[in-house]
């Protein structure tokens, strides 16, 4: 066994491709730093309690520095040779299959690297303040580092199985962090729910990988993309649909969306990092990364667009009806990811914009979640917006930074969200009028619910609980807010000269010039106008009136529907969970009664027979004699019969 080890080490395990220069080390470090941080903090135990948060933050920052180094090195390379592939070692092999554990750093992963480590570092810094009074802060940072490492693995993997490793790694980190306050039963239930529903999506990824292996004999992105055109469309469509199922699970898309709102049980920085900026966008990444499959499978792409469109409307509707500030933001996240999924389903015209929106959304949504965390920090962890009001004076920095995020998400001209959402709407209109219209409606609803949130939180009259004295958060929390607010404003710069589109073109393909039915400027104007309608509506419905401290009960059926998240949980419970548990109960009865019953029944049958037959041994010698005679007579008769 060890001989094989030595054989292995004689091959050089790390193959540095030409042109990569010395980038192998930063590439490995970017992944290894947070992984090492998590390992030190988890294995070190209570000994690392005092400085754990510093180690965690340093690991994230170090990783960010590496990502920057890599990125600038990448920019220095000619556009066609920017991808770096590092094969670490053969993960496993069987027959002709061989799965390498390798890293692929190209334009797509480069952007993700910056987003994950950049926003990740800011959130680490923020958490130092946010979690200051939690006696398990060290563990929180360990989990955060674990998450960052897994997410980096996800976007750096050079093949589908490696991606699966990161995919489940972020799932695990998300599980641990949602349930960080495990003593709360709701948090414990939410963490399990998130993981289980993600596993439903993993069915798609597992079978998708199986189908890819069976079809191509390899799972490496490079090889599959070369061979994809040789496979028939039916197979590619099947792969596409399976990957879509996976994306639905991770990105909380219909019909696997129910876990995301419950996931808000986790600490707010977690919601910002995992359930807004990075992990939930992994589904978008998966689809964009698998563009070589989706490009050849138009039916699968239609399904992607349908899922995205349904979810963007659903999420927006939920955002309108919730009173819990984090749940409004979560509904909004669903909706915005719906936009991205929809855009990525549009094919080559949409991939780059999906990623663009993903980045800007990462900025402004992280900003707003952290802002919400700051608000909660100042109001004794109250999340009910009906208990807020007029907080702008009490927490000016939070208010101003939140406002930047707000303007970005509703698509106020000039802010980052305006550019990215506008491009998606434009592309959608170009492909399919109905989808485009849905996207525009979604924009209007976004304007409504975000304005409602702003008004209920920072404006209107104060409705604070009695012992609440809102105050601004410490610097360690507000500085990340300011940085993110700046990014929310300036994120649109990425679109200058179509930079991001051209930058991503080697990975996702060239955009062919296409002509929308209405000119781009008109689309922008329409979008801004409908958003204005949404904002105005919110002003008349919420801003002008007094907000009641209790949520009104007599509401229209639509509001009830949205408040209950379209009864998806009730549906799952009634249709899957309850019958499932009944069936399991039945199975247990079946196992005890029939399966084990057959065995134990056989045993008791033998025992029962013995019980009956031993009664013959009654102790009366004359009855023994009688049976002797009877036996003799029988033998005699038998002999007679045989002789005849």
């Amino acid at each position: 066994m060890l001989n094989s080890l030595s054989v292995l080490s004689s091959q050089s395990p790390v193959v540095a491709p030409q042109g990569a220069g010395d980038m192998t080390i930063p590439l490995i470090l970017v992944l290894a730093l947070p992984a090492a941080g998590a390992a030190i903090l988890l294995l070190g135990g209570r000994r690392t309690d005092r400085f754990g948060h510093l180690v965690g933050t340093a690991a994230a920052l170090g990783s960010f520095v590496c990502a920057l180094v890599l990125f600038f090195n990448l920019l220095g390379q000619p556009a066609d040779s920017r991808a770096i592939q590092v094969d670490l070692w053969t993960w496993f092999s069987a027959g002709r299959w061989q799965v390498e554990l390798g890293l692929l750093y190209d334009q797509l992963s480069a952007l993700f690297l910056l987003l994950i480590t950049g926003v990740g570092s800011l959130i680490h810094v923020y958490s130092i303040g946010y979690m200051a009074h939690d006696d398990r802060r060290r563990r929180f940072f360990a989990y955060l580092n674990l998450f960052v490492a897994a997410m980096l693995m996800l976007v750096l993997a050079s093949d589908f199985v490696g991606l699966f490793l990161g995919w489940e790694g972020v799932g695990l980190a998300s599980y641990l962090l949602i349930g960080f306050w495990q003593h709360k039963p709701t948090a414990a239930a939410a963490q399990k729910k998130a993981f289980v529903i993600n596993r439903v999506g993993d069915i798609g990824l597992s079978l998708g990988i199986s189908l890819i292996l069976a079809t191509f004999g390899t799972t490496s992105f490079a090889q599959v993309s070369e061979l994809a055109h040789e496979a028939n469309t039916g197979v590619l469509t099947a792969i596409g649909l399976l990957l879509l199922l996976a994306a639905c699970g991770k990105s909380a898309q219909f019909p696997l969306q129910t876990w995301l709102l419950d996931a808000m049980e986790g600490p707010t920085p977690v919601s910002a990092l995992i359930h807004a900026a990075t992990m939930v966008t992994a589904g978008v990444y998966l689809i964009v990364r698998s563009n070589f499959i989706f490009d050849l499978a138009p039916d699968a792409r239609s399904a992607v667009v349908a899922v995205g469109t349904i979810t963007l409307l659903m999420g927006a509707a939920i955002g309108c009806a919730k009173d819990d500030i984090k749940k409004v933001l979560a509904g909004s996240t669903m909706s915005q990811i719906g936009y991205m999924i929809m855009a990525s389903g549009l094919g080559t015209v949409g991939y780059a914009f999906a990623i663009f929106h993903l980045l800007t959304h990462g900025f402004f949504k992280a900003n707003m979640f952290l802002g919400a965390g700051s608000v909660m920090h100042g109001t004794n962890d109250d999340v009910d917006m009906r208990h807020y009001g007029a907080l702008r004076k009490a927490m000016p920095v939070t208010f101003l930074t939140f406002a930047m995020g707000y303007l970005a998400i509703i698509g106020f001209p000039g802010f980052s969200g305006f550019w990215s959402k506008d491009k998606i709407i434009e592309a959608a209109l170009g492909e399919n009028l109905l989808v485009g219209i849905c996207a525009i409606i979604g924009a209007a609803v976004t304007g409504f619910y975000m304005t409602r949130l702003m008004l209920m939180t920072f404006f209107t009259k104060p409705r604070w609980e009695e012992d609440v004295h809102p105050h601004e958060s410490p610097k360690v929390m507000t500085v990340p807010l300011i940085v993110l607010a700046a990014l929310s404003v300036l994120g649109g710069l990425l679109l200058i000269n179509d930079w991001i589109v051209k930058f991503l073109a080697p990975v996702v393909g060239e955009v062919h010039e296409h002509h929308p039915p209405i000119p781009a400027v008109a689309v922008s104007v329409i979008a801004v106008l409908v958003v204005a309608v949404g904002v105005a509506l919110a002003w008349f419905l919420v801003g002008k009136k007094d907000v009641p401290r209790e949520a009104p009960e007599d509401v229209s059926p639509f509001v009830t529907l949205a408040r209950n998240e379209f009864f998806a949980d009730a549906f799952n419970d009634e249709v899957i969970a309850q019958p499932g548990l009944k069936m399991i109960k039945g199975l247990h009865a079946f196992d005890d009664g029939v399966v084990d019953g057959a065995v134990m029944g056989g045993a008791s049958a033998v025992g029962g027979l013995a019980e009956v037959s031993r009664k013959l041994q009654n102790g009366f010698v004359r009855s023994y004699a009688l049976s002797l005679v009877g036996g003799a007579v029988l033998v005699l008769l038998a002999l007679l019969v045989v002789n005849l």
Partner: protein, 98 residues
């Protein structure tokens, strides 16, 4: 010409067998067993005479020896049971059962 002997033997054997089955007194049961043994002896001797050899007679001697031995052991057992239980009924000696 041997038929009457065989018939007598069969009748004696049946009387013995029925006696064993229906009588309760151990001594009587015992005598019935002896009756069956002697019925068998009668047939053995009859067949020996019919076939003109001595084997049947030899076998009859064996049966007598065994019967004698049996009387020695059997009567002793019956005596012991009667002494301990004040009864010679075989139905009373039914302890050895399931």
């Amino acid at each position: 010409m041997t038929t009457p002997f065989i018939a007598l033997s069969a009748i004696l054997f049946s009387i013995g067998a029925i006696g064993v089955l229906i009588r309760r007194n151990a001594i009587v049961v015992f005598m019935c067993v002896e009756l069956m043994l002697n019925a068998t002896n009668l047939s053995l001797i009859t067949f020996a005479r019919t076939n003109g050899n001595l084997e049947g007679q030899v076998a009859a001697f064996f049966v007598m020896v065994v019967a004698a031995a049996e009387v020695v052991v059997g009567l002793a057992i019956i005596m012991t049971i009667f002494r301990t239980r004040r009864s010679a009924s075989v139905d009373d000696a039914s302890l050895l059962k399931y």
